[in-house]
């Protein structure tokens, strides 16, 4: 691995990894509150399509970002109504939400396919702009969502581990009955966690359509939502480790493309497998302790607060 390849991989890792990081952070919050959202793929698509549609109709990419965040939050609240208030099975409801998201996003985005938008403006700090090895690359020339990715991860960590609200979320995730007995309202806390998670999921989708590809197409997330769910487990439900997870997966994806671009003498089909094989290998190597790291109440329905 020499300098241009390494730089290319890092540059690609940041670009691909940002939407994965936001999605992983969102899912971390909801899973910490005890709810598994398998419909994350649908939330991402809703965020991407609403964001793109808003940006195309209003000519403001920032408005698109805001709309995507709200739409993601609303979609997750809908999922919350299913699993918290109606107490439906979380896994089945999540998959239903995924199909709902695929369809709803196609409906919202349909009239805007092919629209040309300006996308989120990019900004590079001036003291880096002159550096020779930075100038011709995409390094440090990022839009606001990429610049905020790590700060948001830190914010999520602080919220979950240093605030009373976060304590409540984690308590509900470990044992909703105990949290209820201590005077908390598990349903309200889960709704709040779901909204926060949905907002981050919407941002993840928005980054794809408003910055990376500047387009909308049905199903454009291509399974990223499920990768994010795997990354939540990979990072042991911890927001800061999620940064590493997103960079590893984004980096692996960038690596296989950079290797092709440098003419590696390996079949492109095998190279395409690298990100998934790498994720599996890491999960196998550090898999044991993960079962114990999950919130104890993950996936369970709390019946007690009526």
């Amino acid at each position: 691995m020499n300098a241009p390849l390494a730089i290319g991989v890092i540059a690609g890792a940041v670009l691909s990894g940002t939407s994965l990081l936001y999605a992983t952070l969102g899912e971390t919050i909801t899973e910490r509150s005890g709810i598994v959202n398998l419909g994350l793929e649908g939330i991402l698509l809703i965020g991407a399509s609403v964001g793109f549609a808003s940006a195309a109709s209003s000519a403001s990419a920032y408005l698109g970002v805001a709309a995507a965040a709200l739409a993601g939050g609303a979609a997750n609240l809908l999922f919350g109504w299913l699993v918290v208030s109606r107490k439906a099975n979380q896994l089945a409801s999540g998959l239903a939400m995924m199909f709902f998201g695929i369809g709803a996003s196609a409906l919202v985005g349909g009239p805007f396919v092919g629209a040309v938008i300006t996308g989120l403006p990019k900004w590079r700090p001036s003291f880096l702009a002159g550096l020779r090895w930075v100038k011709s690359t995409t390094l440090f020339n990022y839009d606001i969502l990429i610049w905020l990715a790590v700060p948001v991860a830190l914010l999520v960590w602080w919220a979950l581990f240093r605030t009373r609200w976060g304590l409540g979320v984690r308590a509900v995730g470990e044992s909703a009955a105990a949290a209820f007995a201590s005077g908390r309202n598990p349903a309200m806390i889960q709704y709040q966690a779901l909204f926060a998670g949905g907002v981050l999921g919407g941002l993840a989708g928005a980054h794809l359509s408003l910055s990376l590809t500047l387009t909308w197409a049905e199903g454009m997330t291509a399974g990223r939502g499920f990768i994010a769910i795997a990354l939540v487990i990979f990072s042991k439900w911890h927001p800061l480790r999620a940064i590493a997870g997103a960079l590893v997966f984004g980096g692996a994806e960038a690596l296989q493309l950079q290797l092709q671009a440098r003419g590696a003498d390996v079949s492109p089909f095998l190279l395409d497998m690298i990100p998934y094989v790498l994720t599996l290998l890491v999960l196998l190597a550090w898999g044991g302790a993960r079962r114990l790291a999950a919130p104890a109440g993950l996936g369970r329905t709390f019946y007690g607060s009526e």
Partner: protein
């Protein structure tokens, strides 16, 4: 009371039927054409080329009604969509994606009075024809354009799936580039699918990171790659639809686009006249299905001249796949005196010398 309400109901139903029939009787279309697309017609690419052609057919033949369905998956679902169009009176159906072939063939068996023209396959029947544009030789002048315009001598080519036809496009591209610039090298990146926008953006960025300054592609929509190149100040050569040039006002060099309209008009006229004959029609540059896009604003006059001359040569029958041609591992794949013609375009399992990449 019952008799009276029965009479009123009967009159209402009659009125309803007349209301429905009236517009139908007023202007019955000469021909109803149905078209199914695997993606969206606003993709500046493959699907748009068919859509644009059908709109031209409507202009050429007044009285043609067009039914379109986008994002039709390549599965039995496509049969349902086509059956729906036939129920609405469609007599000529264009299944435009390779994977629509079998569903369309099944529907064709059930409706011998409806005609089908499928893009990019091989199946034939009395009411089922196949067609496609020969693009491989047409990529030669594109390579010439890229070879002349590049400053780094590194060209990038993003392909979706490394099928023989796509590999052939890359080979012709590099052969053309080398004919004017012996130092030109084409690097190929495979995204794994015909339409994955995020991967296409990442692939384009990877090629640009490695120093390529001209990007070409064989994916369903050139939009993402063209826009990524434009955003990073690189040049692009488009494919599928010449409309993609609107996306890169600075970096667009030229491109290839499909022009299905003349063929479609001919087929539609034959269906109206009742003289439809199934055929396997494959036409290339200069034969009516493939055209060279207008040049971008920043392409100098001497380059335009060379590229146009090269395209004319191809249109007049020059075959770039004439031996001796060596592949990028040193093996002679086409011997001196041999040449690969139209029927071998799907057989490419190797890249020519000068292409960096591995087919499989």
């Amino acid at each position: 009371m019952e008799k009276r309400s029965g009479l009123v109901m009967g009159l209402l139903v009659l009125a309803f039927c007349v209301a429905l029939a009236a517009p139908l009787a007023a202007d019955a279309p000469k021909l109803i054409i149905g078209a199914i697309y695997v993606g969206s017609v606003n993709d500046y690419g493959y699907n748009r080329s068919f859509h644009d052609a059908l709109l031209t057919v409507q202009k050429n033949i007044p009285g043609v009604k067009l039914l379109e369905a986008e994002n039709v998956p390549e599965s039995a679902e496509a049969e349902r969509v086509m059956e729906g169009m036939i129920q609405q009176g469609a007599k000529l159906i264009f299944p435009t994606s390779f994977g629509h072939q079998e569903p369309a063939f099944n529907v064709a068996k059930r409706h011998p009075d409806v005609y089908f023209e499928h893009a990019g396959g091989w199946m034939m029947a009395a009411n089922f024809g196949n067609y496609f544009g020969n693009t491989q030789a047409a990529w030669y002048p594109m390579g010439v354009a890229a070879g002349k315009m590049t400053k780094t001598n590194k060209l990038g080519f993003v392909i979706g799936v490394p099928i023989g036809f796509a590999v052939g496009n890359v080979n012709a591209f590099e052969l053309g580039a080398r004919s004017v610039n012996p130092a030109a090298v084409t690097t190929v990146v495979v995204t794994g699918g015909w339409s994955d926008k995020a991967k296409e953006a990442a692939a384009a960025n990877a090629l640009l990171d490695q120093g390529c300054d001209v990007l070409a592609m064989h994916v369903d929509s050139p939009a993402t790659i063209v826009r990524t190149a434009e955003a990073r100040g690189a040049m692009s050569i488009g494919f599928q639809s010449i409309e993609a040039r609107a996306l890169a006002p600075k970096g667009w060099i030229t491109g290839l686009g499909f022009t299905w309209a003349p063929y479609f008009t001919e087929v539609a006229k034959s269906v109206i006249a009742g003289t439809f004959k199934p055929s396997s029609t494959h036409l290339g540059l200069g034969e009516g299905m493939v055209t060279v896009a207008p040049f971008g604003a920043n392409v100098p006059a001497d380059v335009r001249q060379v590229v146009t001359a090269s395209a004319d040569k191809i249109a007049k029958g020059f075959n770039p796949f004439t031996g001796p041609i060596v592949d990028n591992t040193g093996v002679t794949q086409i011997k001196a005196g041999e040449s690969w013609g139209g029927d071998k375009m799907g057989d490419f399992k190797w890249y020519v010398e000068g292409v960096v990449g591995k087919v499989q």
